[in-house]
Every structure is written in C-alpha cells, then in structure tokens.
C-alpha cells in the first residue's frame, strides 16, 4: 500500500479516535486498554491481510518512534498525578516497587528460559530479559479508570489502584533507557557511548530540554506559541536521542517529569498534553499491531507464554503484598494483583520501540510479549478489578454497566458545584455575584471527580466548569481549539 494512503488512513483513524472519545457520547464503550486497535493492526499488517508490507512499515519508523515518544512525554508529565490530584509519595513508591517486581520476575523467567527455547545467549539474553521485563511491568491507568467509571466505583481501593497504575509508568521507561544504553549501536549510528554515559545523557537531555521548555512556557502566554515550544522541544529531544542511539521514549519521559517539576503552569501543560493522548495512542497501537512478526515459530511463543505467566505471578504476589501493607487494600482478596493485569498503550509502545531498536529475535519477542500481555490483560484485568472493588464495597449495588448517562454527569457536576467546586451552580453564582471565575473554583484537587471524565483522557477536564455547563456547549472539545492546536 502506498505510504501516502497509509498516512491518510492513520489520519482518519486519529480523527475517528479524537471525535469519538473526546466527546461525551461514547463514554465507557470500547475495550479498557484499547487492545482492539492492536488487533486491527495485526489484521491489516503483514501477518494478516498484508495491506501494509514490512518495507512500508519501515518507512513509518520515525513516525512510530515520534508517536511513542510523545506518549512517553505524557506519561512523564503525569507521573505523581492522578488527573489533577497529587499522588502520595508512598503510593508512588509502591507502584514503582510493584512494577520493579514484575520487571525482575518476568525478566528472570525469560533469562532462564531463553537459551533452551530459542538459543539466545550472551548479551542478547540480557537485552531480551530486560526488554521483556519492561513490557511486563506496567498496569494501564486507562483500564483502571475505565472500570471505576463504568461501574461507578469509588473508595480508597479504587484510588489506590489509580495511583499505583499512574506510578508504575516510570519503570518501563527507566528500563528501556538502560536497555538502549547497554544495547549495541543502532544501524547508522557513529558514536559509541559507554553504557552509564548513555543512560545519564538520555535522562539529562530530557531534563535539560524539559527545563528549557518550562522556562519558555512560563514566559509565553499564548496557547499557540506554547504548542510550538512543546512540539519543537519534543521533536528536538527525539531527534537528538535517536541520533545518539539512545532511548527517545525514556528521554521524553524525563522531559515530561522536568516539565512537571520546573513549570509554574504544570497543570495547564498536563491538560494541554492530555488532549493529544487518544489521537496519538490509536495510530501508535495500530502500528504496534502491524509490526508483530510471527516468523520465529512456536518456540518463541513458548517464551512469550512464560513471560506472560511470570507477569501474572508477579502481579499476583504484588497484589498480596499491597493487600497486606496498605489499609486501602485491606478488604481485597488475595487475587487483587490480577486486577492490575491490564496493560495497554504504554506497554505496546515500549514493545514497539524495542522492536524498532533491536530488529531481530529480541525485538520480535519483546513486541510479541507486549501484545500478548495486552490481550490477556484485557480479558482478565478489568473483570478481576471489578470483582475486587465489589469485595471492597466500592461498587454500588445495581451499578449499571452502561455508560454514565449525560443526565447523571450533569447531576454529579451539580453536586460538585454545590460543594463549591465549580460547575453549574458555581457558574450561576458567579453570574449573580459578578465574581471572577477563580474565586469559586477550588484548589481542592479532588474537585476533578474522575467519574465525570472520559476514562481515556485527562480527568482534569472534568474540573473545568465549562465542560459540565450545558449552556457552554457541554464539552469544551466542541470548540475544537485544543485539538486543532495540536
């Protein structure tokens, strides 16, 4: 298929994704972690209908890496935040520890099994173990949010799951930063950095450019110029990291963290960036699915199965530990960890980034594992999470499986407003008293009741009174401004 046609198809897909999921009509539909787009990629890719050939996919490599890296920026910018609410440091540490446990567990299993199953030894064995570990450690926040919103769950366990799912995003990016730094020089690269230098440069590059972008954003009030700054810095970061043979996603993750740390407008930046998540995730997932390569045969799939099983075990153990150590998890069953099996776009993107960087059995195995994990997690994770939330008494009796109706959303917004958190009543009160907007808006981060938001976009949006005010057009995405600026 012509590259232009593919580009147009991806754009159409982006359009569909943005149009469907930014609005309020399809809230709660679709699969929790977006695995359907992975499957779509597999179907149209070389192992499916072969509508896209491997050589054409190769020409899309920079596009893929850019999309993956941009999603990494989003993950970095959101680290330590659940929507606009800060995540407690203890929970961040817990999420990272759980992620590390899964990385080590899955990686160790693959490290032990690889020589006998696919004959990979030496340094490649280390790359494989680390790569597989990186795609086995994450729990997608989209799926956790999807379950809690779909079933109206609310309570300490739901919050804990959210927070841990947010926090463990750091692990795969640090992992691939190490993997890319210790890996062989990429094709065409002319510089060989020692591993530790490579790792430091990866993170420092992101840090410096993130700090630079923060400073520039802070002195720039115009939204369009802010987009220019973010886009320019991000692309420069990606390009330089790739040029040096380093992990562009990891560097972008560091840049996201730096944006958060250094900018006085961190919340605004996160809200801006969140509008790009879904439009970029969908094409990235399709590309990840299309890149799947089954040419290594059944022994490779046995290895993938071992990795996935090890992940299930590690998550299970982690869940038991969380249940024991956190008061929020006290009412959960020992199978709590299985509720955290969902892995989605980040895992698939890390898998794709590794596959592009390590073309060969290592990359194919890592991408295969990421896709298998995502599909298995899609089947088990949401159901188990719902079960655990039910045990904890955080799902109301008779909670509907259907999307939250618009009237409920508005009612909830009114309730929020009554509590002085913005929304319809706040808007009316403002109009009566001529009070400026900020005076009625609360600084309480919980004001962004995440049940009001699209599960796959920033729940910060829910705190915006315009979005719950029917007179304001219900959804600010209608004005198309944020999306079009991206």
């Amino acid at each position: 298929m012509n590259a232009y046609l593919i580009l147009v198809a991806l754009l159409v897909l982006t359009y569909a994704g943005s149009a469907l999921f930014r609005g309020r009509r399809i809230r709660g539909y679709g699969l929790p972690s977006g695995a359907e787009y992975l499957v779509l990629g597999i179907v149209v890719g070389p192992i499916g209908l072969a509508a896209v050939t491997r050589s054409t996919l190769g020409s899309f490599e920079p596009l893929s890496v850019t999309a993956i890296s941009w999603l990494s920026l989003l993950a970095g910018a959101n680290l330590g935040f659940s929507g606009d609410r800060s995540v407690a440091k203890r929970r961040t540490a817990g999420g990272i520890a759980l992620g590390m446990l899964c990385l080590v567990g899955s990686g160790a299993a693959v490290f032990l099994a690889a020589p006998s199953l696919i004959g990979i030894t030496g340094e490649e064995r280390i790359y494989l173990a680390l790569g597989v570990g990186c795609v086995c450690c994450e729990t997608t926040r989209a799926a956790v949010r999807w379950v809690t919103e779909r079933y109206g769950a609310r309570g300490p366990l739901a919050d804990l799951m959210h927070d841990m799912a947010e926090a463990d995003d750091a692990v795969p990016f640090l992992g691939i930063a190490v993997l890319f730094a210790i890996g062989p020089r990429p094709e065409g690269a002319v510089i060989a950095l020692p591993s530790w230098v490579g790792l430091i440069v990866t993170l420092a590059l992101g840090g410096v450019l993130g700090a630079t972008a923060s400073a520039l954003v802070d002195v720039e009030k115009r939204r369009t110029e802010r987009w220019g700054i973010l886009l320019g810095t991000a692309l420069l970061n990606i390009g330089v990291a790739m040029r040096l043979g380093l992990s562009a996603p990891s560097s972008m993750f560091a840049m996201g963290i730096a944006l958060n740390v250094f900018s006085r407008h961190g919340q605004q930046l996160r809200t801006m960036l969140a509008t790009t998540e879904r439009p970029i995730t969908m094409p990235a997932l399709v590309l990840a699915g299309a890149n799947l390569d089954l040419s290594d045969g059944s022994s490779m799939w046995a290895l993938v199965a071992i990795a996935v099983l090890a992940r299930v075990l590690a998550k299970g153990l982690g869940g038991i530990a969380v249940g024991q150590m956190s008061p929020a998890g006290a009412k959960s069953s020992p199978l709590l960890g299985l509720g955290m099996l969902s892995s989605g776009s980040l895992t698939a993107c890390v898998g794709l980034a590794t596959a592009l960087r390590f073309p060969g059995p290592v990359g194919r195995a890592v991408l295969g594992t990421s896709i298998a994990s995502a599909i298995l997690g899609e089947i088990i994770g949401p159901a188990m999470l719902r079960r655990e939330l039910g045990f904890a008494g955080e799902i109301q009796d008779g909670a509907s499986k259907t999307p939250v109706p618009e009237s409920h959303v508005l009612a909830a917004a009114s309730a929020v407003a009554r509590r002085g958190r913005g929304g319809i009543l706040a808007a009316r009160a403002r109009s009566r008293t001529n009070m400026p907007k900020g005076d009625l808006r609360t600084s309480d981060p919980r004001a962004s009741d995440h049940r009001l938001s699209d599960p796959r976009t920033s729940d910060a949006r829910a705190s915006d009174p315009r979005r719950s005010d029917p007179r304001a057009g219900v959804d600010a995405s209608d004005d198309g401004r944020e999306g079009s600026s991206t």
């Binding site: 232009y4 147009v8 754009l11 359009y15 943005s18 886009l231 079009s484």
Partner: protein
C-alpha cells in the same frame, strides 16, 4: 505567527535568548559527536530545531523591529547546510513535505480573505494595478534580462531567439508575488487599512494571472527555443482544463468544507492534514492546480457561507506551527554560495524588479485615486517572493532542460534577496502607513481574538 503578542519583559527576552543558545548548543554537540545519521533521524531533530529556533528567533528579532518572518528565515539560514550545518541538505529536502501543507493552508486562507464586496469596491483599482504591475514588471525585467544576458552564464552562448524566450519567462517570473509572506506579516501585525487590504487582494488575485501568463509564456518560449516547434491549440486546452477543473473542484471542496464547519466543526487540524497531504496528492494526480483549488475553496467558504471567520481562525491556529517550519525551511534552503556567485546579476534583477514595482504602484495609485498612503506604500507588500516563484522556476527547469537548471539557480538567487528584504519592507511600509500598532482595529480572522488562557 499567531498574532500580536503582549509586550515581553527583559527577563522574558533573556530566557528566550538563553533557550536559543541551549538548543543551538545541544544540536551542535549532537552533530559534533554524531556527525552522520540516518536521514530520518536528522529530519526529526531538524524539524524540532527549526520550529523552536524559528519561534525564538522571531521573538528576539521583534525587539529590533523586524517581522517574525525574518526571524524564521534567519534561524533556518544559520542552522542550514551553508552556515552551521545543523540541518543538512537531505533533512531540508525531506522537511519540504511541510511546504505542501503550508501552501494548502496559505491558499485556503488567501481565498477566505477575499470578500466579494471588497473585490467589487476595489475592482477598478485592482484591474489597473494588475495591468500596470504585471505589464511594467514584465517589460522591465524582459529588458534588463536581455541587457544582462551576455553576462549570465547559461544565456551567454545561446542564440538571440532563445534569449528572448528566456527573458520572457523571466519577466513572467518577476510577476509572481508571495502570498505566504504577505499572510505571514498580516497574521503577525494584524494591520487595518487600505495598504494591507489591497495588498492581500492583489497578491491573491495575481496568482491566477501568473498561472495563465506562465503557461502562455512557456508556449511561446518553446517555439523561440526550438525553431521546429509550433504553437498548438492543445497547449491552451490543457491550460483551460487545469483552470476550469481546479475551479470546479475548489468550489466543491469549499461547499463540503462549509458544511463540515457548520455541522461538525471539530478536529479541523486533522481535516487540514487530510486536505494538505491527501487532497493535494489527488489534485496533482489529476493535473489540477492545488493552489488554485484551495484558494477557490476558501473563497467559497467565505462568501457563500457563514463559516469564513471560523475557517480563518482555525487556519491561523493550525498554521502558527506549520508556517514557522515552512519559513525556517525556506531559510535553510537559501543557497548562499550560489547567491555569492551570482550576486551582481541577482542584485540587478531584484533591484530592477523592486523599482518597477514601485513605479507601477505609484502610477496605479494615482490613476485609481488611491490615498497618499497607498501612493507611498501600496507597493511595499509586492516585492516579496518565495516558494511560489521557486515552484514556477522548477516548472520551467523541467520544461526546458537546455537552460532550466541555470534559470532555476538564478531564480533562487533573486528570490533569496526578495525573500529576505521583502517582508522587512512590507512591515516598514505598514508601520509608516499607520496601519499597525494599537490604533489599528482587528479585522477578520487574522484578527480574531486569541484564546490565551495563560
């Protein structure tokens, strides 16, 4: 390029200058330690760098009164293959893909800026100016080119009939203006007044005249260069097909766009990308002129629906990023060694074109009763030349391989001068005409208030 910015403090300027130094430093280090890279990698870094450096440089040159556009060009020029070599030739070529999108947006915006009532009001003035500008520039450049031909490397050994044909082509090339530069300046300064309004209408309308003139000139030149050749009616048939087809398709696109804006109105960036990349390819495939089609589409949306303002606003939002890369890439494209080699000839040709433009502007303003500011500065926006001119020179180079390459190189040299100084002159003219600054009221969309939540 997204409109008038609030005045920045000294601290903000220092931050911007420091950021510019940092990003130059990072890319310098990267290119020093990894001088060769896969082209796609260089392209990604180049794109980011030009976008960021262009934005920052435009802010910094603003402090010395230069237009943003000059900042983009300077950033590209410094980073380009001829000075610091931070963005190599291959990357610059690959980044030219952005031009497709930028030109589509420019044509859409250009068409949407034309309003029937304004065109009716200024029809007489437009017609006179068109006649004088095109006529005088054509005649002057024809004469100057003929006079310089013994000194121009690629014409020195050609027979006189061929030189006449080439001079005719050069004259037509001189008639081209730069819609992108005009829109870029207007978008930044948001002026209000006769000079800015007339310049925009003229530049957009002149595109059609130039397309027709170039086709005619190429037909005549073919006969002059090749004595065995003849003028065939089929040449005009093709031209008619292109013009009518482009107009018809543009009208349809305009109606569809208007309906989309009216009933959906969301995700316009993606729609622009689809138009810029997908539809442009399709139009080229069927041998229609994308620029004309998009211009007609914008015109239809503005004049036959109520969605014109919305379209312009969205183009401005989307174009803010695209135009930075477009002009920065143009800066990187400037061939300095070539300009150095040809500078006396290029300077003479550019100077004589500017002089002819000035004289034609004064005369036409006197004939049509334009105000004193029109007489003084009405010509200032017509000096810029950019991508469109180079695009036409490429068409000529393809059609006449015997002298095409030399012709194209000389065109690039002259465009380099007009591209650098034209926008500065236009900004100067608008400033002097009193159409910029706090007193000027915003008009249309180049003027729509910006959502600046920050």
């Amino acid at each position: 390029m997204s409109g008038a910015a609030p005045r920045k403090t000294l601290g903000a300027r220092i931050v911007q200058a420091a950021a510019l130094v940092i990003i130059f430093g990072i890319l310098l280090l990267a290119t020093h330690y990894a001088p060769e890279s896969r082209s796609v990698v260089g392209t990604v870094a180049g794109l980011g760098f030009l976008l960021l450096a262009g934005t920052l440089m435009s802010e910094l040159v603003e402090t010395i009164g230069l237009p943003h556009l000059s900042g983009y060009l300077i950033a590209g020029l410094i980073a380009g293959p001829h000075i610091l070599h931070l963005v190599d030739h291959q990357s610059v070529e690959q980044l030219s893909v952005v031009n497709t999108l930028a030109l589509a947006l420019i044509a859409l915006a250009g068409g949407a800026e034309l309003r029937i009532d304004q065109l009716r009001e200024s029809a007489k003035a437009l017609a006179w100016t068109m006649l004088l500008q095109c006529g005088l520039v054509l005649v002057t450049l024809f004469g100057v080119f003929m006079a310089l031909s013994p000194y121009i490397p690629f014409t020195a050994s050609l027979p006189i009939t061929s030189v006449v044909g080439i001079a005719l082509l050069w004259g037509v090339l001189g008639m081209t203006r730069s819609p992108s530069a005009v829109l870029g300046i207007l978008s930044q300064l948001r002026p209000k007044g006769p000079v800015s309004e007339f310049t925009l209408a003229f530049v957009m309308a002149s595109d059609i005249v130039v397309v027709v003139s170039l086709s005619l000139a190429m037909t005549f030149t073919r006969v002059l260069v090749d004595p065995t050749g003849s003028i065939q009616l089929s040449d005009f048939k093709e031209l008619g097909h292109e013009l009518l087809g482009s107009t018809a398709l543009g009208s349809t696109l305009g109606l569809v766009l208007a309906l989309y804006l009216r009933f959906v109105g969301k995700q316009l960036l993606v729609v622009f990308l689809l138009i810029g990349f997908g539809l442009t390819e399709l139009l080229r495939y069927v041998h229609f002129d994308p620029l004309l089609s998009f211009m007609v589409a914008g015109f239809v949306v503005q004049n036959f629906s109520s969605q014109g303002e919305k379209l312009l606003h969205e183009i401005e939002q989307a174009g803010a990023v695209v135009f930075v890369v477009f002009f920065a890439t143009a800066g990187a494209h400037l061939d300095l060694p070539l300009l150095y080699r040809l500078w006396p000839i290029a300077l003479t040709l550019a100077g004589s074109r500017a002089l002819a433009t000035y004289v034609a502007g004064r005369v036409s303003a006197s004939i049509t009763g334009g105000g004193p500011m029109m007489r003084k500065w009405g010509w200032s926006g017509l000096v810029s030349q950019a991508g469109l001119t180079i695009g036409f020179s490429v068409v000529v180079a393809r059609a006449f391989p015997e002298f095409g390459e030399g012709f194209r190189s000389l065109a690039i040299g002259v465009v380099a001068l007009n591209e650098m100084f034209g926008p500065i002159l236009f900004k100067f003219g608008l400033d002097r005409a009193g159409e910029t600054g706090p007193k000027s009221e915003p008009t249309s969309t180049r003027t729509a208030p910006h959502p600046d939540p920050g």
